[in-house]
């Protein structure tokens, strides 16, 4: 009896092991899909996080946006140089200070088979503006007063006042997506269904496992997308993602800077690098004693050697950044030569003694999930010790970190920010006294006035001058210290071609092919 059991168990184990060795071939042949002969047609992507919800108007998570961006489209998009290009709109015009018209592309078919018209555009924006929806972009479009359907393919927006960022926000991807009314009516919201006009159709989502998208056969650009299917496989752990791409289980994955040197010399893999659309910062609670003094903040800025952080944490592969990172088109100013970015321990010390802030003790919060930020915080701690400031690092679990950020609980916070779609977002949103992400308690009338001007100035060149001044102002007044703009790394298998990520659109898969 016992012996039989033993034999059975051994047999099962052997089966399993044989399965392992043969499993490799199985999975590669699976990937080929229908056209196994002429190369693979399903692109497999390792995603580091599961999407949280897929309603384009109410979801913020990056893990959701990378998927929603394939399914949904807006009226406008940005090209490589951040110029506006039509997506669902073929043409557009600013009629006067407060009126914009859009001419829609014809024969655009929703994934449910119905043609998209101006009525859908009107409905979509009304849904965004309806407070009950809880749309993220509602605040972007506060100024919209009237939406008029001029004919089947033409629509007009009337604003209550001149508003320079308007077109940028129309081009804000899924958050300003055009959606079909009947799907919302039928399902109540778009959490469980996803019907847009984009190049890929939603097929299946299994939580913590995968999201599968299929090519939209009716897509309005002839012959695009090239691949048939797009699968996002959730692999949370970095070392697992790395192993998966090395063994060919996936075609594409993002990796952290640390892993780049490990795959660079692998002939089967290519590393694609681009500047990330974000920057790291050290934020001050400017309502706290001593930190309310610009001199103390300046001293800290001079105490911190940003290049040392870049060299140590990012392997030297990052650029100095201001509040608008260098990846943000023409808008950023060059920060490298600014005095605030030149480490000067002696001056920092004398500023501190002028402010009567020697021997300052500060608590510095950092999200425990972000290894690179935790490392940065440790270097900052050492650098501040050089000027006699004692910084105590407090690692915060993500939910707690968000809470600390919202409620300004610590003296300093280390974090990452994105510049958003428009420079007003990068500057007004985070630092004007009314800005809803200004959690720092920072107030400056002078700065607020600049932000006001920037909002209504429709001349691009003049607008740029205003924001140049705003950037310099905020860097010198230093409610936050802006540190570096990281690079992002995508590793692809060598058989992937025609894929070129740009900072604001890292996953354009219209042309991508698998050989």
């Amino acid at each position: 009896m016992k012996k039989k059991l033993l034999i059975t168990v051994t047999a099962i184990l052997m089966m399993v092991f044989t399965a392992c060795s043969s499993g490799k071939d199985d999975s590669t042949s699976n990937k080929g899909g229908e056209n196994a002969g002429s190369g693979e047609t399903t692109l497999l992507i390792a995603a580091d996080q599961d999407p949280s919800g897929l309603d384009p108007h109410t979801t913020t998570a990056h893990s959701s946006h990378r998927i929603m961006g394939k399914i949904y489209e807006g009226l406008l998009d940005l090209d490589e140089d951040r110029n506006f290009v039509g997506q669902l709109a073929e043409d557009w015009e600013q009629v006067d200070d407060t009126t914009y018209t859009f001419k829609l592309r014809e024969n655009v078919i929703f994934h449910n088979g119905r043609e998209m018209t101006a009525d859908d555009v009107k409905y979509s924006f009304e849904r965004i503006l309806d407070p009950d929806t809880g749309a993220i972009s509602r605040s972007y479009f506060d100024v919209v007063e009237e939406i008029n359907v001029l004919d089947t393919y033409e629509i007009e927006f009337k604003l209550s006042k001149p508003y320079a960022p308007f077109l940028s926000y129309v081009a804000s991807g899924a958050n300003a997506a055009i959606i079909p009314e009947e799907e919302v009516e039928e399902h109540g919201n778009l959490d469980q269904v996803a019907v847009g006009t984009g190049p890929f159709k939603f097929e299946e989502m299994v939580p913590d496992t995968h999201v599968k998208l299929k090519k939209n056969e009716d897509y309005y650009i002839e012959g695009k997308p090239v691949i048939e299917e797009l699968h996002y496989l959730t692999i949370v752990d970095e070392s697992s993602r790395l192993a998966a791409i090395r063994t060919g289980e996936v075609h594409l994955t993002t990796v952290t800077p640390d892993s780049v040197s490990l795959v660079e010399n692998d002939d089967n893999l290519n590393v694609i690098t681009y500047d990330a659309l974000e920057y790291s910062y050290l934020g001050f609670n400017v309502t706290r004693d001593k930190l309310d003094d610009q001199k103390v903040r300046e001293a800290i800025s001079l105490a911190i050697d940003r290049q040392e952080i870049i060299d140590t944490v990012m392997n030297g592969e990052a650029e100095l950044s201001g509040p608008v990172p260098p990846s943000f088109g023409d808008w950023p100013i060059d920060v490298a030569d600014l005095d605030m970015y030149k480490p000067d321990v002696e001056k920092a010390k004398s500023l501190l003694s002028e402010a009567g802030a020697e021997g300052l003790e500060l608590e510095m919060g950092v999200p425990s999930t972000e290894a690179l930020l935790v490392s940065s915080a440790q270097i900052i701690e050492q650098q501040l010790a050089n000027v006699g400031i004692q910084a105590k690092i407090v690692q915060l679990e993500w939910g707690e970190y968000i809470d600390a950020w919202n409620e300004n609980k610590y003296d300093m916070l280390v974090g990452l920010n994105g510049p958003g779609r428009d420079p007003d977002r990068s500057l007004g949103f985070f630092f004007s006294s009314e800005g809803s992400a200004n959690v720092w308690g920072y107030e400056s009338e002078e700065y607020d006035a600049l932000i006001e001007d920037g909002l209504v100035e429709s001349d691009e060149d003049k607008r740029k001058e205003i924001y140049d001044e705003a950037q310099e102002y905020i860097i010198n007044d230093a409610p936050n210290l802006f540190i570096y703009m990281p690079k992002s790394y995508i590793v692809v298998r060598e058989n992937i071609s025609d894929y070129n990520p740009v900072p604001h659109n890292t996953e354009d898969f219209l042309d991508i092919t698998i050989d």
Partner: protein, 277 residues
């Protein structure tokens, strides 16, 4: 006690465990004398150096000396172990004694509370406690300690119940010994063996638990070193710089091994039925 050490000397495995534990304690106590560098000083130009004559066990991603961090880390790991187990064993002992000695209603209440704590998944309970109290070393120790309470309570209670049935206890009670006297003089010495064994085992689980919590991003605050947090942050470099992972792992494994070997031997040595051999 003397007899115990004499027996321990004959049990080679237990002796190895005992010496190992003493070694770790020694390292922890005299860390500043043993370490060759400051555990937090960053030598920027020497990031991720492999072991060499200057940095005996290499450097980590921020250019800190791994050897010195491990030496100081012994303090953290021991402290986590001792304090967490102290909390768990102390409260567990008290609850177990009360529940086992008095039985009845109070026993029922205590044991149901312990059932609730016990049924709660360990790691998740610790995670929740750390999330509430805030992630730092002190709270991590408290959290791990709370997780241990039901284990000790159950163990002590069942030993107390067994011991209580023995004749000499009822004799003592019948000649008018106070409850306190009975507990301290008669019951405690008799439940010591399983309690000690459990303590050594709990010490090693505590060290592991600290490592697991580090993996989930909770635990000791940087830049202070703990073996768990070192091992966790080295995961990113396991391939590039294996020494950043290997040495913390060796320290953890060695310590746990010693505690367990000692615990096993204690069990054999203190168990009266095995003692005869």
């Amino acid at each position: 006690m003397g007899a115990f050490f004499r027996r321990l000397r004959k049990d080679k495995v237990g002796l190895i465990g005992f010496i190992g534990v003493m070694l770790i304690v020694f390292i922890g106590l005299f860390a500043p004398l043993i370490a060759t560098h400051s555990p937090t000083e960053m030598f920027n130009e020497y990031r991720l150096q492999s072991p060499n004559s200057e940095f005996w066990l290499g450097t980590d991603d921020l250019g800190r000396d791994i050897f010195s961090r491990l030496i100081y880390g012994a303090r953290v790991s021991l402290m986590v172990g001792i304090i967490a187990v102290g909390i768990g064993a102390g409260i567990g002992l008290a609850c177990g004694l009360i529940a086992g000695f008095f039985q009845g209603r109070i026993d029922n209440i205590i044991m149901r509370i312990m059932d609730v704590l016990f049924a709660f998944p360990d790691l998740l309970l610790a995670l929740a406690i750390v999330a509430i109290l805030g992630p730092n070393l002190k709270n991590t120790m408290i959290a791990i300690g709370i997780v241990f309470i039901p284990v000790f309570t159950r163990l002590v209670r069942s030993s107390v119940i067994t011991v209580k049935e023995m004749d000499y206890i009822s004799n003592a009670q019948s000649i008018g010994a106070s409850n306190k006297r009975v507990i301290v003089k008669h019951i405690l010495p008799n439940i010591l063996a399983p309690f000690l064994v459990q303590t050594t085992l709990a010490l090693s689980s505590a060290i592991l638990a600290e490592a697991s919590l580090s993996f989930l991003g909770l635990g000791i605050q940087p830049p202070d070193p703990s073996w768990g947090s070192m091992l966790n942050s080295s995961r990113r470099f396991m391939e590039l710089a294996p020494w950043t992972a290997i040495f913390p792992a060796i320290f953890i494994v060695f310590t746990i091994l010693c505690f367990n070997l000692l615990g096993d031997s204690l069990r054999d040595l203190l168990d009266p039925r095995l003692r005869k051999k």
